[in-house]
C-alpha cells in the first residue's frame, strides 16, 4: 500500500519536473553535487522541516550525515530568528541560497512538493500538523510523543494509515543494538513468562515560579505558537520549556513515554494493545506556572496479566530504563549501552532460526529513508508510537482524576467514567480543528 504511494510521490515529482509545471524548483541543481554526493540529485529524498528548534535541527544533522541522501528544501517555524539560523545551516550545507522558509506550515504545504517531512514541534500541535501533512501524502519522520491526547493520536494514526504514507516515530532507541537485543531476548522468553515491567523515566526539571507577563519578542508569532491551545499571555516560556505545562505536554512522563514505554511494549509484545486498568498518583507543583506532574507513579494492568509500573526513575532500584521481570529473572535496558540481567547467562546465546526476530535497524534515519524508497514499514511505525504514548496519557488521566481508570484497548475507550472520558481530548481554540482523515 505505502509502496505505491511512495512511488507515486516520486512519479509526481518527476512528471512535474518534465512538464516544467512545478510551482517551485524541485530539481536539485547540479551544484549540489559539489558536496561530494554519491547519489544523483534527482534520487535524493526531498525534505521539508517543520520546527527548527533543538530537536528538529538535531534530526536534520542526523539526516545530513547520511551521505547526501536527502535534501532539505523548505523550513517552517513560528520563530523567525530560529528560521533564519536554520536556513543558514541548510544553505551552508548545500552551498547555495535555495532553501525556502515559511512562518505558516499551511503555506509550506500549499507551495511545496515534498517526499518527506521532518516534524519536531510541541505536542499540542501534533494532532493538526501530523494529520495535515499525512493528508498531503507526504511521508513523515515525526518526533515522539505522537500526540497530546488520545483523540489526537487516533486521528493521526488514521491519517497515516488512510493515506498510506511511510511514518517513522523519532523513538530512535529501537535502532540501537542493545535495546533491540534486550527486547528480542525478552520476546523470546529468556526471562520466562513476563509478569511485571518497570519503566523508569526522568524526574521533573526545575520550576520557575510565577514569571511576569512579558512583551512577545518580535521574532515570535505567539498566536501561531499557541495554535489550538487556549490563548494565554506570554510569560517568557515557549521553546523547550513547553513540556512542563499541561496545555502543551504532560511533563517528563509524556515526553519520555515514546522511549522507554515504547521499548517495554516492544519486548513484551504490547505494541498493538494497551492496558485494561490504570491507577496511580502524581506530584504536582504547588506553586507556579508549571503545572505538569514533576513526579509520577502509576500501575497498568494488561488483559494477559502483565503489570507495568511507570514512575520517575528515582523510585526504582535500577533507575532509568525498562526492566522486564519474568518467572526466570529480569532483563534491564537503558541508554548508554546498558543491558543487564538478574543472571548474565540470560543475555547469552543466539536467537535461533525458529525464534522471533525483531525488526532490525542500525540507523533510525537511514531506516526511514530506506522505507520511503521501498514502501516497507519502518522500525518505529505509527501504531507502536501511539500505543506507547497512550500508556503515558492514560496514566496522566488516572493521576488527574485520582481514580482507577478502566480502558478498552480494542475500542480505545474509557469504560464507565464520563469525567475521565472527557480527558481523552482537548478542545481546540477556534478556528483550529483536527483535520478530517
Amino acid at each position: 500500500m505505502s509502496e505505491k504511494t511512495s512511488r507515486r510521490n516520486f512519479v509526481k515529482r518527476s512528471a512535474a519536473a518534465v512538464a516544467g509545471a512545478i510551482v517551485l524548483p524541485q530539481i536539485i541543481p547540479s551544484t549540489a553535487l559539489g558536496m561530494g554526493g554519491k547519489l544523483p540529485p534527482s534520487d535524493r529524498i526531498v525534505f521539508g522541516l517543520i520546527g527548527t528548534g533543538s530537536q528538529g535541527m538535531s534530526d536534520l544533522r542526523d539526516f545530513h550525515r547520511l551521505d547526501n541522501q536527502v535534501q532539505f528544501v523548505a523550513l517552517c517555524d513560528v520563530d523567525s530568528n530560529r528560521l533564519s539560523t536554520a536556513k543558514e545551516t541548510v544553505d551552508k550545507a548545500y552551498k547555495n541560497q535555495d532553501c525556502r522558509t515559511y512562518g505558516d506550515y499551511r503555506e509550506l504545504l500549499e507551495k511545496e512538493t515534498l517526499d518527506a517531512m521532518l516534524i519536531a514541534i510541541p505536542d499540542h500541535w501534533h494532532g493538526i500538523i501530523y494529520s495535515s501533512v499525512a493528508n498531503k501524502k507526504i511521508n513523515v519522520y515525526g518526533e515522539k510523543p505522537i500526540c497530546r491526547t488520545i483523540k489526537d493520536g487516533q486521528t493521526i494514526v488514521s491519517a497515516v494509515k488512510n493515506n498510506g504514507i511511510t511514518w517513522q516515530t523519532g523513538s530512535w532507541q529501537r535502532s540501537q543494538a542493545h535495546f533491540h537485543r534486550g527486547s528480542e531476548l525478552v520476546r523470546n522468553g529468556r526471562v520466562g513468562k513476563i509478569k511485571y515491567i518497570e519503566v523508569g523515566l526522568p524526574d521533573g526539571g526545575r520550576g520557575i515560579g510565577t514569571p511576569p507577563v512579558k512583551e512577545v519578542p518580535a521574532e515570535l508569532n505567539w498566536d501561531m505558537w499557541l495554535g489550538p491551545a487556549l490563548k494565554v499571555p506570554f510569560r517568557g516560556v515557549s521553546h523547550w520549556d513547553w513540556r512542563w505545562m499541561l496545555d502543551y505536554s504532560g511533563g517528563q512522563l509524556t515526553d519520555w513515554s515514546g522511549h522507554h514505554i515504547d521499548i517495554a511494549n516492544w519486548g513484551a509484545d504490547l505494541e498493538h494493545t494497551g492496558p485494561v486498568e490504570i491507577s496511580g498518583t502524581g506530584v504536582y507543583p504547588a506553586e507556579g506556572i508549571y503545572d505538569a506532574p514533576f513526579e509520577y507513579d502509576f500501575l497498568c494492568k494488561y488483559a494477559n496479566g502483565i503489570e507495568m509500573r511507570v514512575a520517575n526513575a528515582s523510585r526504582f532500584p535500577l533507575g532509568m530504563g525498562t526492566t522486564w521481570y519474568g518467572d526466570l529473572g529480569w532483563i534491564h535496558v537503558d541508554r548508554g549501552n546498558k543491558l543487564t540481567a538478574s543472571d548474565p547467562k540470560l543475555l547469552e546465546g543466539e536467537i535461533g532460526e525458529n525464534e522471533i526476530h525483531l525488526y532490525m535497524s542500525d540507523n533510525h534515519y537511514q531506516n526511514f529513508i530506506d522505507c520511503v524508497r521501498s514502501g516497507k514499514e519502518t522500525i518505529a511505525p505509527i501504531e507502536a508510537g501511539y500505543r506507547a504514548i497512550s500508556v503515558g496519557l492514560l496514566g496522566e488521566i488516572a493521576m488527574t482524576t485520582g481514580q482507577t481508570i478502566r480502558w478498552d484497548p480494542d475500542k480505545e475507550e474509557i469504560i464507565g467514567n464520563l469525567r475521565a472520558s472527557k480527558l481523552l481530548s482537548r478542545p481546540y481554540r477556534q478556528p483550529w480543528t483536527l483535520p478530517t482523515v
Partner: protein, 420 residues
C-alpha cells in the same frame, strides 16, 4: 468535681465529638528550650502551633534557666508526656534530669530532635545515642563515624579523622527521600525543596539503630554548601563530587522512638526555613510516628516538589472554604496555590458524586460572581470542563458572550456537551 466544671467538660466533649474534621487530642508533648545558638524564642511557639495543628497533640513549653543559670530548677516531670521535642542547645542538665530523660526514652517515650538540638551535649554519651548523629562542640572521630549516602549506597563505616558538623551559607536546597516505606516518608516525592535553610554536613555520632529517611547533597570541596546554591546555573547537573548528608533520621533507644530533623532554622517569626512545607509536614509526621509508630496524617497538596520552595505563610493550612473564598482574587502573576488545592481536593473526593457536586456548586458560584477576576474564571473553566456536570452548563453558557472568557467557556462546553 464542681457541677459547672462537669457541664463544661460535657460541652467540650460534645464539641470534640461533633467536630468531624478535628481529630481527638491523644498525646501530650513537651517542648524543651531556653538555651540555643538559634532563635529559640521564635521557634518554640511555632513548634507548639505545628504540633497542635495536627489535632493529635497538646503541647507545653518548658524554658530552662539561662546560660550559666542554676539547672537544679530545671526538673520537668517527663512522666506526664508522650513526646519530648528538643529545641535546646546549651548547658548540661543535672544528673537527675538526665537520668529521668533517659528513662523516659528507654521506656518508650517519643522524641523529636530539632535542628541545633543535635549540637547539644557533645560529651553525654547516652544523649548522642538518642540523636544518632551530632555536630559541633568539638565533635570529631571520637564521636563516631560519618554516616551518609554515596550515590545510592549508604556509608556507615567512615571513621576517618575530622570535624563533626558544619554548614555552608543558607540556601534553598533539594531534599531526597530515601525510604518510601517508612510511615514518616511514605507518599512523599523523591525530590523536594527546602527553603533557605542550613544544610548540616559532616555530622558524626554513634548512629546505632539509626535509619536515614532523607538526604541532601553537599559538595566535597565546600561541605554544607548545597549544590543548588553553589551552581545555580547548572540546574539539575549537580556538582559531582560530594555526598548526600542525612537530613531526616529515625533512631530507636530502648523502647523509645526518636525522629531527628536537621531542617527548620528559625528566624524572627519563623522565616522561610520553618515556613517551608517540607519542614512543617515532616516535623508533624515525625512527631506522630515518635509517639505511636504510625502516621495518620495525609501528605498535603502543598508538599513541595523539585519544582521549587513552597512556604506556608503564618503556618496556615488551606481548607476548601479558604481556597474557594480566595480563589476569585487570582491574577496571572499571583500564587496558584488555591487552584492546586482545588485540583488535589477534587482528586481526593473523585469517587463521591455528592461531594463533587458540592464543589462544583462552589465553583459555579465563583463563575457567577461579577467581583472575581477573569484570570480565576479562566482556570476554573478548565477544571469544570472535565469534572463539571450539567449543573455547570447554564452558567458557562452565560460566559460565551463575554469576550475575555469566550475561548475558555467554549473549551468547557465542548467537553461538557460533546455533541455540539
Amino acid at each position: 468535681m464542681k457541677r459547672q466544671y462537669l457541664i463544661l467538660l460535657l460541652v467540650a466533649g460534645l464539641l470534640t465529638f461533633f467536630s468531624a474534621c478535628k481529630k481527638e487530642v491523644h498525646y501530650n508533648a513537651l517542648i524543651i528550650t531556653g538555651q540555643n545558638n538559634h532563635n529559640w524564642k521564635a521557634s518554640n511557639p511555632i513548634l507548639k502551633q505545628l504540633l497542635e495543628q495536627t489535632g493529635l497533640f497538646s503541647a507545653d513549653i518548658i524554658i530552662t534557666p539561662e546560660k550559666g543559670g542554676d539547672m537544679i530548677t530545671f526538673d520537668p516531670d517527663f512522666s506526664k508526656y508522650d513526646l519530648i521535642v528538643l529545641d535546646y542547645n546549651g548547658d548540661s542538665w543535672t544528673e537527675e534530669t538526665n537520668t529521668a530523660f533517659l528513662e523516659f526514652v528507654s521506656n518508650g517515650g517519643g522524641v523529636v530532635v530539632y535542628h541545633a538540638a543535635d549540637n547539644s551535649f557533645p560529651d553525654w554519651e547516652e544523649y548522642n545515642k538518642i540523636i544518632g548523629l551530632g555536630g559541633w562542640g568539638n565533635r570529631n572521630e571520637k564521636s563516631g563515624p560519618y554516616v551518609y549516602y554515596r550515590g545510592n549506597e549508604i556509608v556507615r563505616d567512615d571513621t576517618s579523622k575530622g570535624i563533626g558538623g558544619t554548614h555552608g551559607p543558607r540556601s534553598d536546597y533539594i531534599v531526597k527521600t530515601r525510604n518510601f516505606e517508612h510511615p514518616i516518608t511514605k507518599g512523599l516525592p523523591v525530590n523536594w525543596f527546602q527553603g533557605n535553610d542550613e544544610l548540616y554536613s559532616l555530622l558524626r555520632g554513634p548512629a546505632e539503630n539509626m535509619e536515614i529517611l532523607a538526604t541532601s547533597f553537599s559538595a566535597t570541596r565546600r561541605p554544607g554548601q548545597a549544590a543548588e546554591a553553589a551552581a545555580p546555573a547548572q540546574g539539575f547537573r549537580r556538582i559531582r563530587e560530594g555526598r548526600d548528608e542525612p537530613v531526616l533520621m529515625t533512631i530507636t533507644y530502648g523502647k523509645g522512638r526518636i525522629f531527628h530533623t536537621v531542617l527548620g532554622h528559625a528566624d524572627e517569626g519563623g522565616g522561610p526555613a520553618m515556613e517551608s512545607v517540607g519542614f512543617i509536614v515532616t516535623f508533624q509526621r515525625g512527631a506522630e510516628w515518635a509517639v505511636s509508630g504510625k502516621v495518620t496524617q495525609e501528605v498535603p497538596f502543598d508538599f513541595p516538589s523539585a519544582s521549587g520552595v513552597v512556604l506556608r505563610p503564618d503556618f496556615k493550612v488551606i481548607t476548601l472554604d479558604d481556597a474557594m473564598a480566595n480563589i476569585g482574587s487570582y491574577e496571572i502573576e499571583k500564587s496558584t496555590k488555591n487552584f492546586t488545592f482545588l485540583r488535589s481536593y477534587i482528586r481526593k473526593i473523585a469517587d463521591d458524586e455528592k461531594a463533587l457536586l458540592n464543589v462544583e456548586k462552589k465553583m459555579v458560584d465563583v463563575l457567577k460572581n461579577n467581583e472575581v477576576t477573569v484570570d480565576s474564571k479562566k482556570l476554573l473553566l478548565r477544571e469544570l470542563s472535565w469534572m463539571g456536570s450539567d449543573y455547570s452548563i447554564a452558567a458557562i453558557k452565560e460566559l460565551i458572550s463575554n469576550n475575555d472568557l469566550k475561548d475558555e467557556a467554549g473549551f468547557a462546553l465542548a467537553r461538557l456537551q460533546p455533541s455540539k
